[in-house]
């Protein structure tokens, strides 16, 4: 429809050339009906429609997704922490696995402290990562540190793996002088150029078409890298998601679409979010290789991401991973999920199918980890988090100047004038403003 309108639009530009084209076109149409019959028998059983690779059938059948069978959930480690097929023994080293475990639990500890600090009014907003830790670390460990990441907002674990520290998180949430983002973004909207993690955008799925755009830049550079783009199953309903899938396939760029299907988009369950075979099921329609994995299984997520990454970089094509998981926490501090889901449901995932517990069972079975280590690490992790929390709460806020910079590469005159006026005013009345709470403009 829009296309038709656009063609009408072009008619205002009618030129002689276009008229000739129309004229030639009408001749063409009249001739095919008569002269085309000569070669009709040659390959009559092969369809010639543009862009179609298919065959004719004389059976009247509609494609029915429900009857086609659903994409299975790839899993390496069962809920008990056992590797179900010895062939699939994890390739990650004990050292890496322990490091992942510590970071997963550290993230969980930080989530608890920052969630509470929002409840106490110390920060405006927070989002926890409870229950989705394996999806974060399973993907992060399979990526190259130079791969560019576009997150949605609930991927703090990916950043922690890349070297974002507790202090970095705290300074962002408390908007201190040390925040890399200069106190401009609402809590959990992290970003780090150094760690190749693009600053989080709040508008859902807006990052999805950007990811293949960045992947196009990587393709042009010829570097053996890719872009990893995270999103939720709710965000996948945005038009941006469709555009991103379609463009990445047609543009043939190395991008990994990593869906955290955590069952809920705030209160909307995934059963009301889509029909068909979930997010992975869409891959086929777009011509994108897709896989569904148990997102609570660190090893399955890691393996899938590693294989997808190798494929994407080698072939310069997109891949789609749907990591099935469960959002154990509320959507954000603005949400109370007891209004729309039962305590029993949440409790099941928390107690019986938690990615951290599953990994611990694996480590215990290998005799890499025991209760004593667990208790000691819990205390240590809590201490680390509280120390970072204390430092951030005491730190001064960003300088007033940061209000005005970075709107443009060069500060425009009206902003420079306002900044100077503001500075002069505050300098003149230092006792009227809490200037000690802010870093100096120098």
């Amino acid at each position: 429809m829009a296309y038709l309108v656009r063609n009408i639009l072009f008619r205002t530009q009618l030129t002689r050339g276009y008229k000739q084209f129309l004229f030639a076109g009408s001749k063409y149409f009249s001739s095919t009906s008569i002269e085309g019959s000569a070669s009709l028998d040659a390959d009559d059983d092969v369809p010639h429609f543009p862009g179609l690779k298919s065959k004719f059938t004389d059976k009247l059948e509609f494609v029915n997704a429900e009857e086609e069978g659903h994409i299975p959930v790839y899993r390496v480690m069962n809920r008990k922490g056992e590797i179900t097929d010895k062939e699939n023994e994890p390739t990650l080293s004990r050292e890496i696995i322990e490091k992942v475990y510590r970071k997963m639990t550290l993230l969980s500890t930080m989530d608890r402290v920052l969630y509470e600090s929002q409840r106490q009014g110390r920060i405006s907003f927070y989002m926890t990562n409870y229950g989705e830790e394996a999806a974060h670390f399973g993907t992060a460990t399979a990526l190259d540190p130079e791969d560019l990441i576009y997150g949605q907002y609930r991927e703090a674990g990916v950043l922690l793996w890349r070297g974002f520290t507790l202090d970095d998180c705290m300074n962002q949430c408390f908007a201190t002088e040390l925040d890399r983002g200069k106190g401009r973004q609402m809590p959990v909207h992290y970003g780090s150029k150094k760690l190749n993690f693009v600053t989080i955008s709040s508008t859902l799925a807006t990052q999805m078409p950007q990811a293949p755009g960045a992947a196009y830049a990587i393709k042009r550079s010829g570097k053996p890298l890719c872009v990893a783009c995270y999103f939720g199953e709710g965000a996948a309903s945005e038009g941006d998601a469709h555009a991103a899938f379609n463009f990445s396939a047609t543009l043939e760029v190395p991008v990994l679409f990593i869906c955290r299907n955590n069952g809920y988009a705030i209160s909307t369950p995934s059963s009301e979010q889509y029909r068909g075979d979930g997010i992975a099921g869409r891959g086929r329609g777009y011509g994108i290789r897709s896989i569904r994995v148990d997102g609570n299984d660190l090893f399955a997520v890691h393996n899938a991401t590693k294989a997808a990454r190798e494929y994407a970089v080698r072939e310069s094509k997109p891949a789609l991973i749907e990591a099935m998981t469960y959002r154990i926490g509320h959507h954000s501090t603005s949400d109370d999920s007891t209004a729309y889901r039962s305590k029993d449901e949440v409790s099941y995932w928390d107690k019986l199918d938690h990615p951290i517990a599953r990994l611990r069972r694996y480590m215990v079975s290998k005799e890499w980890w025991d209760d004593e280590q667990e208790e000691k690490w819990k205390r240590d992790a809590r201490l680390q988090v509280m120390q970072a929390f204390g430092r951030a709460e005491k730190a001064v806020k960003p300088p007033m100047k940061d209000l005005f910079t970075d709107v443009y590469d060069e500060m425009p005159r009206h902003l420079a004038e306002q900044y100077e006026e503001c500075s002069a005013h505050v300098s003149k009345y230092p006792n009227e403003y809490p200037i000690d709470n802010y870093a100096s403009n120098e």
């Binding site: 829009a2 296309y3 309108v5 656009r6 009408i8 639009l9 072009f10 008619r11 205002t12 530009q13 009618l14 560019l148 576009y150 925040d179 890399r180 983002g181 200069k182 401009r184 973004q185 909207h189 970003g191 780090s192 150029k193 693009v198 600053t199 955008s201 709040s202 508008t203 807006t206 999805m208 078409p209 950007q210 990811a211 293949p212 755009g213 960045a214 992947a215 196009y216 830049a217 990587i218 042009r220 872009v227 038009g239 941006d240 469709h242 555009a243 991103a244 379609n246 463009f247 047609t250 543009l251 940061d402 910079t405 970075d406 709107v407 443009y408 590469d409 425009p412 005159r413 009206h414």
Partner: protein, 368 residues
Amino acid sequence: MAAFGGKFLRTKTFQKQKDLLKVLSKRNLHASKPVSATLTVRDAINAAIDEEIQRDDRVFLMGEEVARYDGAYKISRGLSKKHGENRVIDTPISEMGFAGIAVGAAMAGLRPICEFMTFNFAMQAIDQVINSAAKTYYMSAGEVPVPIVFRGPNGAAAGVAAQHSQDYAAWYGNCPGLKVVSPYSAEDAKGLLKAAVRDPDPVVVLENELLYGLSFEVPDEVMKDDFVLPIGKAKVEREGTDITLVAHSRFVGLCLEAAEELQSTHSVSCEVINLRSIRPLDRDTLVNSVKKTNHLISVEGGWPFFGVGSEICAVMMESEGFDYLDAPVSRVTGADVPMPYAQTLEKFALPQIHNIVNTVKKTLNIQQ
């Protein structure tokens, strides 16, 4: 019908424009160097894209129909053949999709020129333009620049009604983080687009379909591949002493014609300012002109509410320009209705020369 109307209108304007430019150049009223070549706005834009793709291997053009079809308005004619499919890229149909691709590519170090078939359709990509392109540099604390150009026809064309005729200058001009230019002549079109491509910030280039086919006489320097105009500087197209007319895009041409008529019929000397840049707005040129003429009228094809003219009024209220005004500033704008299709209604919905002339007479208290 629509096509015929469009063609007719364009040809008519074209002739008037040419005559007018001849007059102007004879009188040597503008500051440019002696003229020696003619250039259509379409060719000026084409040359700007061609030269910038040639100059910098990070630059590429992306949009619907820009490669095989040479662009819906033939702006990119020949560029795909010349520079290849990596530099001039046809995309599937989705404004939010290719705008997002372009934003992502800019974030990753390329310098995309993103063509919208019309800025009316860019509404489907507004999130990418505003929430991402305009705000990311600030939100990322200066870590993620988005050097991108969004360009395409803006404002009313002819006979294409409400969803093809809106002027978005005020919309984009409202947003910090964006620079917005709106060229009138071939010189503007080339110099401003090249500046936009080279600019580290995201720039919206609002062209006009009815200007694409117009020829302008241009100084030699415009034809050179290093010709760039500064973003944020207006151009005094015609000097005058009695009243200042300020406009952008196609309505600069109408102001020049109105000025000519007022000179010959009422001996009124109009100064005509071509804004060129909507954001930043060249306050100095506006205020300096008002200091000389003491009267100001803004003319635009867009709607009156919160429009470019409203901002120009605010500039006068908030600057020393206010002290020099001998009469209130008046605005001549598009009618406050969605654009109708019927030719006569469409005509009445846009500023006409007689609207400008009448407003000047009213402001200067000329009775006849």
